[in-house]
Subunit: 145 residues, 2 copies
Amino acid sequence: MELTLTGEYAIRVLVFVSENIDRIGFQITELALECGIPDQYLRKIIPQLTKAGILVSQRGNGGGIKLAKSSDEISLLEVIEAIEGKIFLNKCLLSPDFCNRTSWCSVHCVWIEAQDKLKEVLANRSVKYLAEQNKLNRKKLTDSP
Amino acid sequence: MELTLTGEYAIRVLVFVSENIDRIGFQITELALECGIPDQYLRKIIPQLTKAGILVSQRGNGGGIKLAKSSDEISLLEVIEAIEGKIFLNKCLLSPDFCNRTSWCSVHCVWIEAQDKLKEVLANRSVKYLAEQNKLNRKKLTDSP
């Protein structure tokens, strides 16, 4: 019950791009260096994020890697599900065929509740919000004596 | 980010024992049959639950497998953590040494929030509550035309 490293890296890249939204486009090597992600690893992640419509990758002058839409329209949940697939805390939430107890099983309902709460938190945090908070948090660290 | 089958089976057994709290003690074979769990699989789960102080297993007349404490003192969270270890949705919650960004990373705070909400739901549901709900749900199904 843990986010994969791939998911962690995907979030890190998107928040970084969002923090530097004024820059025209990024190269993978640059993103890898800035975000502390192995270059080859990142080369596998970027296509998943472009396929999901979160990033675009354009060749030529003025090209590079950019957000495909506004950073306040990209939630943490969307990023995680683009990489890991839909979140299901238990197999019985994936398919009612998993278990013949679903019609009466009280634990099934608790899983629904727990999953909804988890997804709600992740859905309510946009990449834009995370980028802004990072800037604020770093400023506080720099300003503190 | 999904419960293991072992966790699923552990919950199922405990709720079943709680539903049948008036019976003196269970044998593993009986529990396996009643809960639809492979016998050999269950033989590996029971020691984990006894070690965690959730079940006791006594030999001899009047023995068998029983709850180690009142079923309203056993939460779903306790059962899951007895089997899977402490819940950590991301490695950065397991140890601050995982990542050198923790002091300012806004995503870290969202993970804390999401994890707290998830654990709160699981901590607030006791095995006793789940057993009672199961009985009610099955009664509704039987009573419905």
